[in-house]
């Protein structure tokens, strides 16, 4: 058997910088490694000395694509530390914004980043020529999700009207009605895009490695904005106990910290949420899960992209219900932010962002100045699971041509939708010859 040496530096179509290294000779794997070479930015260090009101607007810069989720987890941590209560309207708006982020990110990932792999091309650009209608549809959905977060959060990337206690401005009834109509009108487009993915889903590798899935979980909704920590291995914990779950540690090949719970590694993200909270999904979401043959607990990480698609339907259906709820009483333009007193304390905030569960934990002094911070990012929690998947997957690929092995390993990483900028931020497969 010929020697295999893969080195993919700066893996493409993921957010951030990661490298894949694989060396094999005589049918034996010598090394298979997932490396994160992203430059460290030290958020947890430099937020010390910053004021409570700027924390969300600083920490959202951890990741441009999950900036909404970081903003919300950050605000929740500050609100928990200072005992700030939120109005019903604020809570619903926060959920709507979370759904908008999930939609935007999933459409981007499945449409622009995964679809090219399924259709056997290198990027979305060649698809503009070969599948113009499909690309137009994907673009229109992506734009709609962006419009939704622009309207509700001020901006898709680094939202600017979300502050501790609520908002600096909220949309009018008219704007909410217009948004609702656009979403209703977009459902057929979602269905068309889902059909296209379904028709090409056969290209998703069939690979299973049993692991633990961790996500937020709640009794009354499919948890994204709020909930407890849950595990498919059983167990439910309040978010304040997150350190017992995450157990961060440092490895030499990565500037992102790794995590592990009861097993060697665990997975977070859409598939984790799906596996844990399937029964809370909306009807259309369940219907599409069935069409893809996706049912809990699914241990094939490649199905994460399908779980994302299923979640899109859930986001649209729940969004429509929430908008109706807000419109029933009309948008309150006066009380958009709770008054509160700045005080000392510690608070933990968690949200489940497109790539998985996210924790922010801050301690403030009596002037509201941050003295200690900890942020645990979804992609970080997945790195260790990716490494363990590599170790299980690589030996099964050895009889394949080098290019195919490389593609499969790349597809695996992309399935996790890693935004490595988050985790400090990277993706390269390197074949060492």
């Amino acid at each position: 058997m010929s020697d295999i040496n893969i080195k993919v530096e700066h893996l493409t179509r993921v957010e951030g910088h990661g490298n894949i290294i694989m060396n094999a000779s005589n049918g034996q794997i010598e090394k298979v490694q997932w490396q994160i070479s992203e430059a460290p930015r030290f958020f947890e260090s430099f937020v010390r000395g910053r004021a409570w009101h700027e924390m969300a607007h600083i920490t959202c810069r951890i990741c441009g694509i999950c900036s909404i989720g970081h903003t919300e987890a950050s605000l929740k941590a500050t609100e928990a530390a200072m005992g700030i209560e939120l109005s019903e309207q604020t809570k619903i708006l926060r959920r709507l914004i979370k759904a908008a982020e999930n939609l935007q990110s999933h459409v981007l990932h499945v449409g622009y980043l995964v679809a090219p792999d399924l259709l056997g091309v290198d990027s979305v650009f060649p698809l503009i020529a070969t599948h113009p209608e499909a690309v137009k549809k994907i673009i229109s959905l992506h734009r709609l999700a962006n419009e939704m977060s622009n309207l509700l959060a001020g901006r898709t990337i680094h939202p600017n009207c979300m502050i501790p206690g609520g908002f600096t401005s909220v949309p009018s009834d008219k704007e909410m009605r217009a948004l609702k109509q656009k979403l209703v009108d977009a459902i057929p487009t979602f269905l068309d895009v889902a059909e296209i993915v379904l028709a090409n889903a056969g290209a998703l590798p069939n690979f299973t490695r049993e692991t633990e899935f961790i996500a937020l979980t709640a009794d009354d909704e499919y948890a994204l904005y709020d909930g407890d920590i849950g595990s498919t291995d059983g167990g439910r914990w309040p978010v304040e106990k997150y350190l017992e779950i995450t157990n961060e540690f440092v490895v030499p090949q990565s500037t992102a910290k790794y995590t592990k719970h009861a097993r060697d590694s665990y997975m977070v993200g859409a598939l984790a949420r799906f596996n844990l909270n399937y029964d809370k999904l909306s009807p259309l979401a369940k219907e599409w899960a069935a069409k893809f043959g996706l049912s809990p607990v699914c241990h094939n990480p490649f199905m994460n992209s399908v779980a994302q698609l299923v979640e899109c339907f859930n986001d649209v259906e729940t969004t429509l219900a929430w908008i109706d709820k807000l419109l029933a009483t009309g948008m309150d333009q006066e009380n958009i932010c709770t008054k509160y007193e700045v005080k000392a304390g510690r608070g933990v905030g968690a949200t489940d962002v497109p790539r998985g569960i996210l924790f922010h934990d801050y301690t403030f002094d009596e002037n509201g100045i941050c003295t200690k911070a900890n942020c645990i990012i979804p992609t970080n929690q997945n790195h260790n699971n990716i490494q363990h998947d590599f170790e299980a997957l690589a030996p099964t690929l050895l009889d394949k041509p080098e290019k195919e092995i490389e593609l499969t390993l790349e597809m695996l990483v992309r399935a996790y939708d890693p935004c490595i900028s988050c985790s400090c931020h990277y993706l390269d497969v390197s074949w060492k010859r």
Partner: protein
């Protein structure tokens, strides 16, 4: 004439500026018509080392990053930076208040493996310190903002391609804010860095009732004394004022300190 070949590269960043370009959606197709994108890691797998224009996101952190940006500069005829990270060093530049060792201690040393694996001997962790791109190599155009305004990006790129002067304003955000007929946030009891911050974002934050946080950096002749007086009048302490002046712009503070030290 063949179309200029454009490549995107990212350093220490959140990739929000590249996403702002992806978010241009159909509008990007107009620009794409004029150029050949040969490398855009966030969106495509194709990659080429043969490019004319390099577009850089992110701040420069370690010796391995310095080496990489120098190679890119040597190849590119034109080098454009996008966003506050590349322009000023980004929010992460606030970490320069501490030594690299102190930062590593705070972030990594509290975890198993965190002390032995993060020494300078590991190139991924070697002497991390944040710098703007123009502190390391020559930059032909810097598009400010955190994130950049996608429309401004398209306009600047177009102007560069046509050899025109760059359409980046040198007046404060207040000008755009007044044109947009916003209620000044000072009237709402908040404070704002708009009077000294470079416009071009169409006053994105104050349009939504939020303060300008200064992400686009200062205009070239800021009335800093007057701004400081106003902030004092609104009851901010010296520490509060320093925080307002440094969220995205610790670079200026570092440069002022270096100048003082040098005298």
């Amino acid at each position: 004439m063949s179309k200029p070949r454009v490549a995107f590269f990212d350093f220490a960043s959140c990739e929000g500026c590249q996403l702002a370009i992806v978010n241009l959606e159909e509008a990007i197709i107009d620009v794409v018509g004029l150029i050949d994108i040969v490398s855009f890691r966030e969106a495509m797998k194709e990659h080429s080392e043969d490019y004319d224009i390099a577009i850089i996101e992110g701040s420069i952190t370690r010796p391995m990053d310095v080496e990489r940006i120098k190679k890119i500069r040597a190849q590119a005829k034109i080098l454009i930076t996008i966003g506050a990270c590349a322009h000023l060093g980004g929010v992460q530049r606030l970490a320069n208040q501490w030594t690299p060792e102190e930062n590593k201690a705070e972030v990594y040393h509290r975890h198993p493996g965190g002390t032995e694996h993060t020494t300078d001997a590991n190139k991924f962790f070697n002497q991390p310190r944040q710098r703007a791109v123009d502190e390391v190599v020559k930059v032909d155009a810097a598009i400010p903002g955190c994130p950049i305004n996608g429309t401004e990006f398209a306009k600047v790129l177009l102007a560069l391609l046509q050899g025109k002067s760059l359409p980046i304003p040198d007046y404060p955000v207040c000008v755009e804010c007044k044109k947009n007929e916003n209620i000044c946030v000072f009237e709402l009891g908040k404070v704002c860095m708009g009077p000294v911050t470079r416009a071009g974002c169409d006053s994105a934050c104050t349009n939504r009732g939020h303060e300008c946080e200064g992400c686009r950096g200062l205009v070239s002749d800021p009335h800093m004394k007057a701004q400081t007086d106003v902030l004092e009048k609104y009851g901010l302490t010296a520490d509060d004022i320093l925080r307002r002046k440094t969220t995205f712009t610790y670079r200026y503070e570092e440069e002022a300190q270096a100048q003082k030290g040098g005298e």
